[in-house]
Symmetry: D3
Subunit: 189 residues, 6 copies
Amino acid sequence: MTTPAISRFPVPEIKDLPDDIREKILAVQEKSGFVPNVFLTLAHRPDEFRAFFAYHDALMDKPGPITKAEREMIVVATSNANQCQYCVVAHGAILRIRAKNAHIADQIAINYRKADITPRQRAMLDFGMKVSAAAYEVGDADMAALKQHGFSEDDIWDIAAISAFFGMSNRLANVTNMRPNDEFYALGR
Amino acid sequence: MTTPAISRFPVPEIKDLPDDIREKILAVQEKSGFVPNVFLTLAHRPDEFRAFFAYHDALMDKPGPITKAEREMIVVATSNANQCQYCVVAHGAILRIRAKNAHIADQIAINYRKADITPRQRAMLDFGMKVSAAAYEVGDADMAALKQHGFSEDDIWDIAAISAFFGMSNRLANVTNMRPNDEFYALGR
Amino acid sequence: MTTPAISRFPVPEIKDLPDDIREKILAVQEKSGFVPNVFLTLAHRPDEFRAFFAYHDALMDKPGPITKAEREMIVVATSNANQCQYCVVAHGAILRIRAKNAHIADQIAINYRKADITPRQRAMLDFGMKVSAAAYEVGDADMAALKQHGFSEDDIWDIAAISAFFGMSNRLANVTNMRPNDEFYALGR
Amino acid sequence: MTTPAISRFPVPEIKDLPDDIREKILAVQEKSGFVPNVFLTLAHRPDEFRAFFAYHDALMDKPGPITKAEREMIVVATSNANQCQYCVVAHGAILRIRAKNAHIADQIAINYRKADITPRQRAMLDFGMKVSAAAYEVGDADMAALKQHGFSEDDIWDIAAISAFFGMSNRLANVTNMRPNDEFYALGR
Amino acid sequence: MTTPAISRFPVPEIKDLPDDIREKILAVQEKSGFVPNVFLTLAHRPDEFRAFFAYHDALMDKPGPITKAEREMIVVATSNANQCQYCVVAHGAILRIRAKNAHIADQIAINYRKADITPRQRAMLDFGMKVSAAAYEVGDADMAALKQHGFSEDDIWDIAAISAFFGMSNRLANVTNMRPNDEFYALGR
Amino acid sequence: MTTPAISRFPVPEIKDLPDDIREKILAVQEKSGFVPNVFLTLAHRPDEFRAFFAYHDALMDKPGPITKAEREMIVVATSNANQCQYCVVAHGAILRIRAKNAHIADQIAINYRKADITPRQRAMLDFGMKVSAAAYEVGDADMAALKQHGFSEDDIWDIAAISAFFGMSNRLANVTNMRPNDEFYALGR
């Protein structure tokens, strides 16, 4: 029996990668116990790998009023709308862990309007989904609605940027046939 | 702390139900260890309950070349397209159990085109999704494509009827705010 | 000249059907003067036939504040959105008869927003169409809007269930190529 | 009881109209037995009235391999897709009369793919519907497909122009709330 | 090197045209310095040519509270939504000239919600775009919104008619492969 | 008269920026004669700025069989589909310059199917547009179609990554109300 490919494009050996990329991957492996396939898939293109993860970390590892779990909520909701298997499975796992909630990721992926979330989180996801599907219609009324829920201008930028960045990631994962690691499915359940 | 409602409509007590409905529910409870919320939600309307489950059982408990696991695949794929939380969570669990595969339900829900399925199953899901989204465009070419994969006319009816029936179920679940039982999330993982 | 097929699937002879189904069909024939093709098409699957008509009758023959004519309005509006020839032609006829109005069915099928209906009926159809097209977006605001027009919770269930049931019926009719009987076209005009 | 308005805009008295418009309307009235409301609605704007009917007559009264009944088929199919009550009701009547077929208009309006038409008529309507919904995607392959059914370049222009012209007419009728005359509903049935 | 065709259909020689059409074309040529290709493309069908330009002139050369530049704004916004190369390029040029603004046409074509326009112009374009995309949903609330911005009933007719007429024109241009003249691209920049 | 804002978010003074960002901006200014507003808008978030332009440069400044002009074609086509004013205006200018063609950017933005491009470029844009609109449907047949036009696997990655990256950029520009610099409109015409 063969192992299914993790990408339709060539996947480099970790040992052959540039030092900075290899080190980043080994650090993730040490922390998580496995190497998420997005690292191996994107390592095919070192410069894009570096930019991708620099962008990712700037948006997702940021402290602030929008918690890390809430950031993952945006990823999970928009990624299911974009039908991205890798992102829903992998970030669903991260969301379950960060929210310490075994059900929230599936709820949000399938229909965030029916999920066990606060009205503030609902407003956040409404906006993230609008940025994903119809950013060209975003206007002052959207800003006002978010501010009523206590979001600052910088929070709004964060929501939009996370939705936009993972819209890119969703498209890359779908084109590359990026395969979620088996480990993600059960994490945090 | 209150238990979240399982329906936005009144939910009857099991003891107050007509005998046949109470017995069906108790039988399910004995077999599954819990009462799936779809039984309690629909019990608000006994006649519709009876018709719904008679229809469901006629389509889903049927032996034949389309296996029970494959029937659940159709349910899971179309229910995520219809953003039905109850159906994806509950039938995802049944699919994992019937297929003895912990990953297949999430794969199919999110993007069945990237799931670990056979070309025959892919053709089955392509058709089920077309019935769900654009049945008015179904024509002879669809029949021919399915027959090339070995599906008989009766198999094609089955696929179409399952897609159509759960399209109804998805709409009912979304309008009633039908809540998936906690038990479903981890089943079969 | 051959008679056009009424279904792309096999159509049983009435005499070969199980007793209960044959009797139901003969009763309809006696009352209507002809056998609507939905009975013959679905008789190919006796168990599904029984469940289908049990469900149908539970929803459509029910007394209550939503009249039988209004129930048919929901069928006609959603069935044209689903491009279902059988359902628009057959239920259009029933609507004309029940509403004693020769024009209302065509008006509602083509654009219910321009039909000669009351604001309460307009709200009913707005909701039925939303259940048909985007049930996943249904929420508390929809309930509130309907209650303002005097609809009870049970009425709301009825509207949703009729829309959902005929969504299934529309898909079955489109896949089976179910042909409207010639008799329906002129009824009630 | 008041007569429903035939337009949301002012409707002139026939006697107050410019001579050429009044004469055209009276000629139609003499021939048809009534004045179709499109004449009265558009008479609010004499110059647009003249251009509209000159265009209409150039496209619809033209002899050629596409019969007058077939031209009406294009109108009926695209007008239902555009949810135009006036055009489906009025041109449905004309189609029934021209095709000497009491059922064809309803069949085509609801789902032309299931109508009793020839493969050549099906190709004609596929193209007319594409022009209506996505003319920006029309390309050489569409031309080739039509030529295989025997349509000449000039026939293709006709189909496209009829679809485009009635797309305009559908929008005007929907904005003006143009009301179909009662006479149309039963004509040709 | 060959000159690209201006239409996929035959284009007549100016000298062979009926007198009235030839004279109209020569007058445009004298005024503009070139013959816009829409004149040559439509001259293939003299009767349709006459009706088209009579309609066009009735809508676009009309004095009134909606300026000629504003009328072109409606054309440019809806024509980009319909992906009509000829209409965006040609009417973009006319808009730049009429508005004496080198940037406004590109802004409106790409995303009119972000263009340097007044709230009244925004309301006008919102309505024109709705007529183009979903005229069947136009209702009393649209009328009221426009009246709040000072538009009269006749102004509303104008906006709708311009949107509808150019919807026809966009479809004709896309089917005929109507090519914008090179002269239009730089005009008014 | 006030200068219109270039972003709805705060825009830093160049002198206050981190050294690397200030130097990058001044280098662009020296080369182009002005500072494109995307640099100033994104400088509000230095880490995101660095990642964005590292990613951008990795994709757009890359030598290879897909020329720099062709890369801009992908940007222009997808950005108009996403209704992004900044990206169509700015990258339209770059495309005109790189392709030494004053008309190509407008043609591609409005309807790339009608643009003066080669069949290979048409296949490239068909794929870039599919990645933008429906990446979840991308499969082996897309790869095969591109390879028939001579594109390598790495070329296919490039097309997909450019479409995906600018999908992100389009969303950021629409949410921030990023304003195209006046200088872009006339460049290369």
